[in-house]
């Protein structure tokens, strides 16, 4: 089976204020329908790795291939819009837009016509039909994260990236969000999740630990 994501010898060095090698040669393969968890102590570079894999950041050296294409500055925007969905710990909704508008924003960026066709279905999937016309700032934390998941699914991406998706939520709400993510995995999407939550990590097919700039398979 061909991996949907391949990372080879990813290195990242921050030069300011002092030189710091955060990633020292990370290799990773992620296959369709596979969920992997990346764990590690705070400051180890988990989020940096996630952003490099998700094309939001560029490595100092190394290559990332998504769906067989090498990621470069020309393709990054298109890949993020068409093949990747992001879910952040802080949700990152556009507060001045309604839930429906937030969810459909990737479709608008892709200039799909009509962009609103599958909006209600996405909201129904995450249980936010009633909140479609509420503004981001009017939602609770759990609802915001559900809206963020719906937005991530808007253009039907193959890979979902989640950075501490339930980190700011209470237990029950966090469980609901995790269930939603794994429903996506069951539907064939790949999931790469950065987390401190061992329970969430154990639900994934593979667990990696980032330690001293290198990725190790298994829980530390």
């Amino acid at each position: 089976m061909t991996p949907v994501l391949q990372a080879r010898n990813i290195r990242k060095t921050f030069t300011h204020p002092t030189a710091l090698d955060v990633l020292k040669g990370v290799d990773l393969d992620v296959y369709p329908g596979e969920a992997i968890a990346i764990l590690g102590r705070s400051g180890e570079g988990k989020s940096t790795l996630l952003q490099i894999l998700g094309t939001l950041d560029t490595p100092t050296s190394g290559e990332v291939h998504i769906l067989g294409k090498q990621v470069g500055p020309q393709l990054a925007g298109l890949i993020r819009n068409q093949h990747i969905g992001f879910i952040f710990q802080s949700y990152h909704l556009l507060e001045d837009y309604t839930v429906l508008e937030n969810v459909l924003m990737p479709a608008w960026i892709a200039r799909q016509t009509p962009p609103s066709a599958h909006g209600p279905a996405l909201l129904e999937k995450v249980g936010l039909t009633e909140r479609a016309h509420h503004y981001g700032k009017q939602l609770s934390g759990g609802e915001k994260q559900r809206a963020a998941i719906a937005r991530a699914l808007c253009n039907d991406p193959q890979i979902l990236f989640a950075d501490e998706p339930s980190g700011n939520l209470d237990g029950a709400t966090a469980q609901g969000i995790q269930d939603l993510l794994f429903q996506c995995v069951q539907a064939g999407k790949s999931l790469i999740v950065v987390t401190h939550d061992l329970n969430l990590a154990r639900k994934c097919h593979k667990q990696y630990t980032l330690k001293q700039g290198l990725l190790h398979l298994g829980l530390d």
Partner: protein, 585 residues
């Protein structure tokens, strides 16, 4: 942030308003001034050069019997049948100082005047080509007032050195500069018709001579054939209403519908004895004109008589009226001395010369009278005062037509004989036009700086906006928005702000110009004196037409500058790294 945006837009609106109003008014003023200048002269003048006056072609007339030993003006050269009037077998031998004749290959004399007129006909931009003459003279006007009242009767004189130029009946632009005829003009004309002006050229005209009744009746009938008095106006004092009007106490400044009693044209000796049927509140009465004023009328302007002249506006303001008589004095050299000649004249109207310095001294007379005065002096001594006026369909073609003429004259071999000048180069107007142009350029430069400053406000505002919206930019980048599309948002925001300010400013300018006169009246009332002197600015009032050229320029400049102003923040926005923003959040 929205307050800063609003302020940026308002600043641009204010600047656009200022520029559009200022340039619309100054462009309008320039058009009025130029229109008046070319009305009295023409957009292009073609004048003979020294080479023309030294040429065989010009000098041969003074040496030929067929030309009556008199040099010809350009108008006469156009009319004459033969270019070379000299006859070998009849005229005396030519003097040695006379230059060789400029002959064509076939031996005929080159005719610079006729050749020039042929070229004029080939250019469709030229509407008319008319020879003009300007003569120098002294105008003496005798102003007789209150002839009907021996106690109030006054006589005064105006004497001024003037230029006389010939009237061109076909010059529609000049006819548009005529000042309207006033009731007082008509009444003065009626009064002047009662006098015999045969002695007007005398140094001190003695007792007033009356015209005989037959001549007077004939003159009045001719006058009323072209003039219809519709209403008489009561003066503030000095008039007693008829008894039948007793019950209606008539105040001054009341207009009474009036019809001329034509029978009175045969019997009246004085203008005040002319009788009219008047109506007041349904009552009719026949009354004498007396001290009543002419309230409303229909008067057709008559073709200029041989002794008729049109005076510039300044004379009207000095109290001269249509119908006033006088003479033009000029000097004619004889063998031993200069002899003063006097040609009688009558004022037939007034025109607005605009603000050009020479305008106040330029008297427009009939072509015959102008020619008579100009012919008294040797033509070569008044060389620059003779030439050809070219009227164009569009004044804006002047520069282009000049170039075409210059080329055609060179090809025809007559270029050395002519100097072609557009209205921008006339000696008496170029300083003013250049001053106006340079003022416009300077203000244009200042305006450009003001627009740049106003638009640069957009840069600060948008940079603040980029900083404020970094998270949103990061979110949009994370869901696939390209750096270019993010940059476009801020670039477009810059243009939209610029154009919005531009549109608001233009609308304000339009409203201001539409209400310019009430606005100036208000300012004048507030400050207690006239905000702008309309007489100085060339006519009845300040021009208030929106200048589309200015509007397009300001829109274009604002759009361009606001686009440039939007680029800096747009680049900054496109360089926002989503990883840094989303991580920190």
């Amino acid at each position: 942030m929205s307050i800063i945006s609003l302020v940026s837009i308002l600043v641009i609106a204010l600047v656009v308003w200022l520029l559009v109003v200022f340039f619309s008014v100054t462009t309008g003023l320039e058009k009025v001034w130029v229109d008046k200048l070319v009305a009295v002269t023409s957009p292009i003048r073609v004048q003979p050069t020294d080479a023309y006056y030294r040429s065989y072609y010009f000098q041969i007339d003074a040496l030929s019997t067929a030309s009556d030993y008199t040099a010809k003006s350009i108008g006469e050269k156009v009319e004459t049948a033969t270019s070379d009037p000299y006859q070998d077998d009849f005229d005396e031998e030519l003097p040695t100082f006379l230059p060789a004749a400029d002959r064509l290959a076939d031996g005929t004399l080159r005719d610079p005047v006729k050749d020039a007129f042929k070229i004029f006909q080939t250019l469709p931009e030229i509407a008319r080509a008319v020879p003009y003459e300007v003569a120098i003279s002294t105008l003496k006007l005798r102003l007789l007032r209150h002839l009907n009242n021996p106690f109030d009767e006054t006589q005064s004189f105006i004497t001024q050195a003037i230029y006389v130029t010939n009237f061109d009946e076909g010059n529609e632009r000049f006819q548009k500069s005529f000042l309207p005829i006033r009731g007082s003009d008509l009444k003065n004309q009626l009064e002047m018709l009662t006098l015999n002006h045969d002695a007007i050229q005398e140094d001190t005209p003695g007792q007033l001579l009356r015209a005989d009744q037959a001549t007077l009746s004939k003159a009045w009938k001719a006058f009323f054939e072209n003039t219809k008095i519709l209403a008489l106006q009561t003066p503030l004092r000095g008039w007693r209403p008829p008894k039948t009007f007793d019950n209606s106490k008539l105040p001054g400044d009341i207009k009474l519908k009036a019809t001329l009693e034509t029978s009175s044209l045969e019997t009246a000796h004085e203008a005040q004895e002319l009788r009219f049927k008047v109506e007041w509140k349904g009552q009719q009465e026949e009354i004498a004109l007396g001290p009543l004023l002419i309230g409303s009328f229909e008067a057709k302007r008559q073709p200029l008589a041989e002794s008729g002249i049109y005076l510039p506006r300044g004379y009207q303001e000095a109290g001269v009226l249509m119908g006033d008589r006088g003479y033009l004095a000029y000097y004619s050299p004889t063998a031993s001395t200069l002899q003063e000649q006097r040609a009688p004249i009558v004022v037939e109207g007034f025109y607005d010369p605009g603000i050009f310095p020479m305008g106040g001294k330029l008297v427009v007379a009939s072509p015959d009278l102008t020619n008579q005065i100009r012919a008294a002096a040797p033509l070569e001594e008044s060389g620059l005062l003779n030439g050809i006026n070219l009227s164009l369909h569009h004044i804006g073609d002047a520069d282009n037509v000049k170039v075409q003429l210059q080329q055609a004259f060179e090809e025809a071999g007559i270029a050395p004989y002519w100097k072609i000048e557009t209205y921008k180069e006339f000696d008496f107007s170029k300083d003013l036009i250049q001053q106006l142009q340079s003022e416009k350029h300077i203000f244009g430069l200042i305006s450009a700086v003001i627009i740049i400053v106003a638009c640069s406000n957009i840069i600060s505002m948008l940079i603040l906006l980029v900083n404020d919206k970094k998270l949103e930019i990061g979110i949009l980048r994370s869901i696939g928005a390209s750096a270019f599309s993010i940059a476009s948002i801020f670039g477009i925001a810059g243009i939209v702000m610029g154009m919005l300010g531009s549109a608001m400013g233009s609308l304000l300018a339009y409203i201001t110009l539409e209400n310019l006169h009430p606005l100036l009246d208000f300012i004048s009332r507030v400050q207690g004196y006239a905000a702008f002197n309309p007489m100085f600015y060339g006519g009845g009032s300040l021009p208030n037409q929106l200048s589309w050229n200015v509007l397009f320029f300001v829109w274009g400049a604002t759009a361009l500058l606001s686009l440039i102003a939007g680029i800096v923040p747009a680049i900054k926005a496109s360089q926002v790294r989503p990883s840094a923003i989303l991580r920190s959040e």
